[in-house]
Symmetry: C2
Subunit: 548 residues, 2 copies
């Protein structure tokens, strides 16, 4: 059950993949002898291989991309919460220029030639360097066909639409955001068409956020999920409801922030590599393994919201800081995909945080900060309260069972938008319709409806499905931990989840972007992704809870 | 006394200076046909002038420099207070790379050729464009002789020394910071030697922070200041002391932050372009006119510290946001020099904030936030308390009269360090010696002595003298406002200082970096800088206060 039993049987270092051939389609005009930031010098006489010089050029290229990533992460993450109201446009301009620089750097002719030479020299490269070349070639190929000015215009649009959404949500004002959604959709369709004219634009974006996925993949996935969740929900609605009374009350904000810090400790985050800040819409991000950030919020009438937000965002931060530190200044730093990222965050939110075995550990912290409210609450009562199934309006506050239905609503609307079947104007009506159909509830306003999430304003159409997929990845990883001999509930019961972190670090986190998500699952579990682990888990957990 | 009486007699638009000839010394190897971020394309056939294309290239160059400036300001200002403890090194790496990029961009051969062509085409340029070319040529010339790797190494060193200083100050631990000061001094001497091998390194840096200054200039300036301040201080020490009793007490931190926001309002700052954040060492900075930041601190046992810190940093922010908005994405954005910047900050701190006429306005705010303490304090009592002259240890908390003596201590030590006459090891002893000699007090430890300021750790040797000079600029500007017909005390007495802001905006702020500081003074006052306005002001104010 502890670390010692984790056999390294499935994933060995030698499985790091070779780069796939990805021909570049169009070369950007570039100088013969650039002396300009990051673009490699021209090769020595053609045909003469000089891997040492090429590796130095690769490292220099990576350092420039790293510096820009650092700046872009600071501006993108802190900008919206820190920057003055009137600075939005100026930030967008700066972000657009940095984007343009990245694109021109990657698309320069010399960069293309360097990457081709490195590809040919791969026997002389380390496994890490081969993985870097693979990722850089893929990113270059993706950017080659998008005119830099269009990419920059998209960045500018997002800075603006993010700010408009922010105000629109607060004011329950769909009309002001609506034209921006149309503009975002158009821009994303256009960019997808530039990249892959023959492919459905939504498929292009689904594959971008999760390599190897498509509408076909998700249609199958969501069909299976619906087949399990909808009947379960139906049966549960016939049963007596679990009580949430024990977690109700008022919870003073400052104490909740202190609780949030203790939750980070409990999860195993090093405070010296973390920033915790306040925001409207929670998120997390990371730069190097020495720098992860969590932005969260607290509601004085809902302590569970804080608790599960922190566990969720903390899971992202564990992934970011658990990557091999040698990847820090390279393109291999970061999570391999959005789905795998959500796989980690939802792992700590649900498989750890909403388990019965971990309830005593959470209850102990709640008692520390709110002794009056929690001194007489039992672990079983808390577990039941945290798992009450109840169709609701807000995705981020949803229980584990209805959560994927919130995603299905968005997935269906995104498809219609991207295929041009509807415009933004029809979104609120469709939103209300789908919430009625899948969750059986009425949407009272935009703020609690189609304005609740920041994603569309941020140009993240195609991202939502990865949340649900991440939940399913997590179920499969959890199943494998147990198959590997871990006494999963036993570990949770100790309140020290170091063995779980070690397993995930070994099989997922450390690899950063060196493996694609499907490879991570295959290597970790010895079989491909299988939705059944997820649907089985949901069936078992909620049948037991509601005595179905 | 109001705006209407401000005759535009001294500064007219036609006085924008022509670019001085500044031959570049060494060209960086650059591509024939660069397509890389920011570096202009090669000119059309030599000799064929194409001002339209050149102006487009100038704008593009400026946009790239702007985007980097945005990123660098975020990282430099927020980094040290926001970033996780362990991220310091990673931030330094990113900052160093961005610095390198700026330098390579400005030093590229094509950039040099573009600026030379624009210089030749100046009759076809707007006055703003001519000023841009002047500033860009000067910056390029300054960078041409510093190898980019050395500049980057300096940036990395500063990220580290800043973090070391932070801990050293908290721990009263000079030994840990000492080697870093030696390294900073060596690096700054070396960079100065690269730039101007024939010139004294300290003179190079003095001129960098304040164009047109040198040791000769400051030796004269400080001699005059000492001639006034030292005897005044001597006489004051024989007189009965002013009481500070009325401002003593405990002032709860959260209320002080609310007071800080009201002070920003009183000063006339637009909250929609401002960020107020917390820090150990107060500072302010600006990006565009839509983005200024103030970092401050509060001490619960010293409300005056908060009050004068906010007025001071608010003065900087007024300058940054008062620049002509058309300069936003150009090299003309920002204050023209450190001294002129301090001239604005110390204007609001002292000539406004420590005046008798403005005391009722400040008292009104103090009464609002701390009614218990201030309800029975008179404006006269408050004025006297805020102007009590008392030799003290901390520069930023010093009264207006002893303040320049703190600067003289630093100026003398900086000279010795930069000339190699002493090493960092001797600084604490010299510090103690000079505080005894000029201020008559004993320095009890490093934290309240030579570790109090962040400047040396940040590579700002040569910056301190601009604080004192700024005070003197302010005195001359104030004198000129009155000569222009403003009833200065009358304006202060109304509590609405809009006429003062308008005068400064018209004569100083709007010009950004389009004029050098000596030109600003000449244009605003119709005569060159003259220290006598400052020494006369001090003599008159403190003779009257202490009935000398």
């Amino acid at each position: 059950m502890a670390e010692a039993t984790n056999e390294p049987k499935k994933q060995t270092e030698s499985t790091l993949p070779e780069a796939a051939a990805e021909p570049s389609r169009q070369e950007v005009q570039a100088p013969a002898q650039p002396a300009v930031p990051g673009v490699p010098d021209e090769a020595a006489p053609a045909g003469v291989s000089n891997p040492k010089a090429d590796i130095a050029a690769l490292n220099s290229l990576e350092m420039h991309l790293y510096a820009h990533r650092y700046a872009e992460t600071m501006m993108g993450c802190f900008g919206p919460s820190i920057d003055p109201v009137k600075a939005t446009h100026d930030r967008g301009e700066a972000q657009a220029i940095l984007d343009e620089e990245d694109q021109e750097l990657l698309c320069a002719k010399n960069t293309g030639e360097l990457l081709e030479r490195l590809q040919r020299e791969s026997p002389m490269l380390s496994r890490t360097q081969r993985a870097q070349v693979r990722i850089l070639r893929r990113e270059r190929s993706r950017l080659m066909d998008v005119p830099p000015k269009e990419q920059a215009a998209f960045t500018r649009l997002l800075a603006e639409s993010g700010a408009v959404w922010h105000k629109a949500k607060a004011a329950n004002d769909w009309a002001s955001f609506e034209p921006y959604l149309d503009r975002v959709v158009n821009a994303m369709r256009h960019i997808a068409n530039c990249q892959n004219p023959g492919k459905n634009p939504y498929d292009v974006w689904l594959d971008y956020y999760e390599q190897g996925t498509s509408r076909a993949f998700y249609n199958h996935f969501f069909r299976e999920v619906k087949k399990t969740v909808v009947p379960l929900l139906q049966e549960i609605s016939q049963r007596p409801q679990l009580s949430r009374r024990v977690v109700e009350g008022r919870f003073e904000a400052e104490r909740q922030w202190a609780l949030a810090r203790d939750l980070m400790d409990l999860e195993g985050l090093d405070p010296d590599v973390m920033v915790l800040t306040k925001t409207e819409h929670p998120y997390s991000d990371g730069i190097t393994t020495n720098y992860a950030m969590i932005a969260a919020h607290v509601y004085e009438d809902d302590v569970l919201s804080n608790l599960y937000t922190m566990l969720h965002e903390g899971g992202h931060a564990l992934y970011e800081t658990g990557v091999n530190p040698e990847f820090n200044y390279t393109s291999l730093k970061g999570g391999t995909s959005m789905g795998m990222h959500e796989g980690q965050s939802r792992f700590f939110e649900n498989y750890v945080g909403r388990s019965e075995a971990f309830a005593p550990a959470l209850l102990k912290l709640l008692r520390k900060h709110f002794p009056g409210q929690f001194s007489r609450v039992s672990a079983r009562q808390f577990y039941m309260a945290a798992n009450r199934v109840e169709p609701s309006l807000i995705r981020t506050e949803a229980d584990e069972l209805t959560y994927p239905l919130h995603i299905i609503v968005r997935y269906e609307i995104e498809q219609l938008l991207m295929e041009g079947d509807i415009s933004a104007q029809q979104v609120p009506m469709l939103w209300a319709d789908r919430y009625k159909k899948y969750l059986g509830i009425r949407v009272p306003d935009y703020t609690h409806g189609c304005l609740q999430d920041t994603h569309w304003a941020d140009g993240l159409i195609g991202y939502f499905p990865t949340y649900a997929l991440g939940g399913a990845y997590g179920a499969q990883l959890r199943h494998q931990m147990i198959a590997d001999g871990m006494d999963f509930d036993g570990v949770l019961a100790t309140g020290d989840i170091a063995p779980i972190r070690s397993w995930l670090k070994k099989h997922v986190w450390q690899w950063g972007r060196a493996f694609d998500p499907q490879e991570i699952i295959q290597n970790a579990c010895g079989e491909p992704f299988n939705v059944a682990y997820y649907t089985d888990y949901l069936t078992q957990k909620f049948s037991s809870l509601y005595e179905l």
